[in-house]
Amino acid sequence: MHPVYDVAIIGAGAVGTAVARELSRYHLKIILLEAKADVGMGTTKANTAIWHTGFDAKPGTLEARLLRRSYALMEKFVPEAGIPTEPLGGLLVAWTEDQYHTLPSLLERAHTNGVTDVRIISAEDVYRLEPRLNAGAWGGLFVPGESLLCPFTLPLAFATQAVINGAELRLNFRVQGIALEDGITRIVSEDGQTVAARYLVNAAGLYSDEIDRMLGHHDFTVTPRRGELIVYDKFARTLINHIILPVPTPITKGVLISPTVYGNILLGPTAEDLDDKTNTATSRQGLEMLLEKGRAILPDLMKEEVTATYAGLRAATEHKDYQIRLHAGQRYVCAGGIRSTGVSAAMGIADYIGGLLSEAGLELRPKDNFLPVHMPNIGQAAPRPYQQPERIAQNPDYGRIVCHCEKVSLGEILDAIHAPIPARTLDGLRRRTRAMQGRCQGFNCQAHIVDILARETGQDPRVLLALEKFPADPADDGGQS
């Protein structure tokens, strides 16, 4: 007889992992089901990595409310869990007279959303804050609370904390069918595995509409909206001091230029509706459009080297708000259509979903020994192992640098391979350690890392390099990154 879980969560992105973490605080048997070979492999790994305040969210929406709730929860969690972050603040720049005249309404909106430290600044002040910006700014809106975040560490931290507190993580489990019988939800995977649970949370991102339909609902349809981005070399980092935001339109937040917690500069994203939920390829038009925008905003950026390009897919729907609903009779919560703010809002969404489940009868009895989590630092603001003689003295592998561009040591790579949620793929290592994510993109160290990973995990290099039998959903998703 298989166990019956109290709660099954579908999807291990920012939202699903945050829900798993939230519920693991209680005496509950939880299982997190993920189609891919690792957590955080969907939209959560390919975005602009801004920790949004929600200043520009549509007032009165669930999105606005949960972003605020999340902000407060994250202010505690992020430092405790050691998630790389930098509190830079956002500078929204008006480049035309029309845009300039929308600033007061944006200010009012921010205040309505409870983000009260936002202020309008003059063109002179814009250039005082950002002397390298192109000429022609009319003025700006300064949003002190907008910050940077590591979108790789965040879902790993959520999932790790859930796992060390007893939640089960089942990877390579692509949900294909759901049946409700006698108060039990039976979830069947593509390859015929079954999981039974009393409550179900759908956090399947781009596929949340399809899961929702398996339960008989037709509340929304997800349209993948591609966003392409360019990552610039770390030598570009000194060009800006803040997150440079454009004036948003109803369709998109627009193209921004932002530092990352690793010390690079991001330029993007584009916004383009597609019909293929797996199309995370970059395109010539997309990249050219970004270069044009980048040149207009920060001309000096064009003199720097490009480190990487990537694309992510927003789970856009026909609605303007998150699609979070409780179907109490089915003991089912849908958390779909988390379009462009889900990394920031995940903890607020999880908190809200906990409330909905409780409303539907799930008993939430807190554990008195909820274990904390602390993640390895891969950000540039805090010391890394190669800079810490104490750590190297304890273990010389922290002084043995494998990835030179990002200064990732053998010690960190081995830690990631043997972590509670272990890295099993090159991509998994990239996101956990930054190895192969620097200016040479692994051209120096990838062969070495394939060797280490193959040796430590007993996997055939041919599989790691996708030279042999790609499984239905290959371990190494070459797509988003």
Partner: protein
């Protein structure tokens, strides 16, 4: 942190760094320390298992590893201290670098520093080649690490992007690993490989051009395949029909960028053309006591050229250690398109005799070119070239150097 001292600190144990170290020992400098981040010294040639090294400096044809081992052995025998697995992570002050190694972190102080950190090829992402990010995309350097250093499987059928000298190196490595090369693709109208003067390499090139189609004036539009490369989509640069070349491996060759992290983080003045530190004929950077040599100065010359530069730089370092003053005035030499870079890219008073030529490369093919050197409105010199070919180095005579006004406007090199 422990602060140590040495007389000359050299960053990079490639041909430039090691030959400089050897020469410094020969000139009687007591303590010469070379640090390299790799587990073995020798630099890039260590990874090029094919032939093509040593003719100029050792008068025999050697493979890259044989060549590297020779320099390492000579340096060790001369009493050079070589520290491997030691990465320079930054600057502690004007004459001290911070290091990380398995032994810990530390600071190494030195009267003079030579940066010889080499170059890398621009990876696919830096060339903005669209598509998914499948496995099977390499640079020549990374390919050689897979094949010769780690003996990892590569694939069956490859496309080489770029048609300069190093592309031939990629070809040799691929065919050595049993791959078929489906095509060589270059955006330029012709390939840019030299018919080397020595037979083995010359015949390799002839053989390659005989066996593999070279698609000129063509661009890789997209990489196909999600998890593993399945092909490349190629189209004429001028526009026109796209075609797909099936392959499971793509090698991006050439398109060099100096490994200038240490140089740039030391706030050395950088040259916009070479993207390496700006240096004068004496390999002096914009900071007193800091020298640079080898391919860090520009991508990319042969190992022998880099080694020769290391030796020459060593002479100037020795003079500096004996008290030769650091030039107060530096005049930039600026390359104008289609000239891509010129080297050296700064002039100083004590090196204006014009004994050594300058070198330069162009971005485009130019026929019957007149390269003109000017300062302000004065044309200092003109030199004719029948053909200028991109990705090849040309020499510019330097007899005009004594006529330069050091306190005047920058010297400009352009095609008239």
């Amino acid at each position: 942190m422990t602060a140590e001292r040495t007389d000359v600190l050299i960053v990079g144990a490639g041909p430039a760094g090691l030959s400089a170290a050897l020469e410094l020992k020969r000139l009687g400098v007591p303590r010469v320390t070379v640090v390299d981040r790799e587990p073995q010294p020798g630099g890039m040639p260590r990874l090029c298992h094919h032939t093509g090294f040593g003719v100029w400096d050792f008068h025999r044809m050697l493979s890259g590893p044989q060549y590297a081992r020779r320099y390492v052995r000579l340096a060790e025998a001369a009493g050079v201290e070589i520290r491997t697995e030691t990465t320079v992570t930054g600057w502690a002050d004007d004459h001290a670098l911070t290091l990380t190694s398995p032994a810990g972190t530390g600071v190494l102080q030195s009267d003079a520093i030579l940066l010889a950190t080499g170059v890398r090829e621009r990876p696919r992402s830096a060339r903005l080649t669209p598509g998914y990010r499948p496995r099977g995309v390499f640079t020549t350097g990374s390919l050689q690490r897979f094949v010769d250093e780690r003996h990892l499987p590569v694939g069956k059928r490859a496309v080489i992007v770029g048609a300069e000298e190093v592309s031939l190196s990629a070809f040799m490595t691929l065919t050595g690993a049993g791959l078929e090369v489906a095509a060589i693709v270059t955006e330029l109208p012709r390939h840019q490989m030299n018919y080397f003067p020595y037979a083995p390499v010359k015949w390799l090139l002839v053989d390659m051009l005989h066996r593999v189609p070279v698609l000129t004036a063509a661009r890789v539009e997209r990489i196909l395949g999600r998890f593993r490369v399945e092909g490349v989509e190629v189209s004429p640069v001028a526009g026109g029909e796209r075609r797909v070349i099936p392959c499971d491996t793509v090698v991006f060759t050439g398109d060099w960028i100096p490994e200038h992290e240490v140089a740039r983080s030391g706030e050395l003045r950088m040259d916009a053309g070479t993207r390496g530190p700006q240096v004068d004929f004496a390999f002096r950077t914009s900071r007193a006591g800091i020298f640079a040599a080898g391919n860090l100065l520009r991508g990319a010359e042969t190992a022998a050229t880099s080694a020769a530069e290391g030796r020459r730089a060593a002479g100037w370092i020795a003079r500096f250690l004996q008290g030769a003053p650091w030039p107060k005035v530096r005049l930039p030499v600026v390359a104008e398109p289609p000239i891509k870079w010129v080297f050296p890219n700064a002039l100083s008073a004590d090196t204006l005799r014009g004994e050594q030529p300058l070198t330069f490369r162009t971005a485009d093919f130019v026929e019957n070119a007149v390269v003109q050197v000017s300062q302000g409105n004065d044309v200092l010199y003109r030199q004719s070239f029948r053909y200028l070919t991109p990705n090849r180095t040309f020499r510019l005579d330097a007899a005009w150097l004594p006529r330069v006004a050091l306190r005047g406007e920058p010297v400009r090199i352009r095609v008239a």
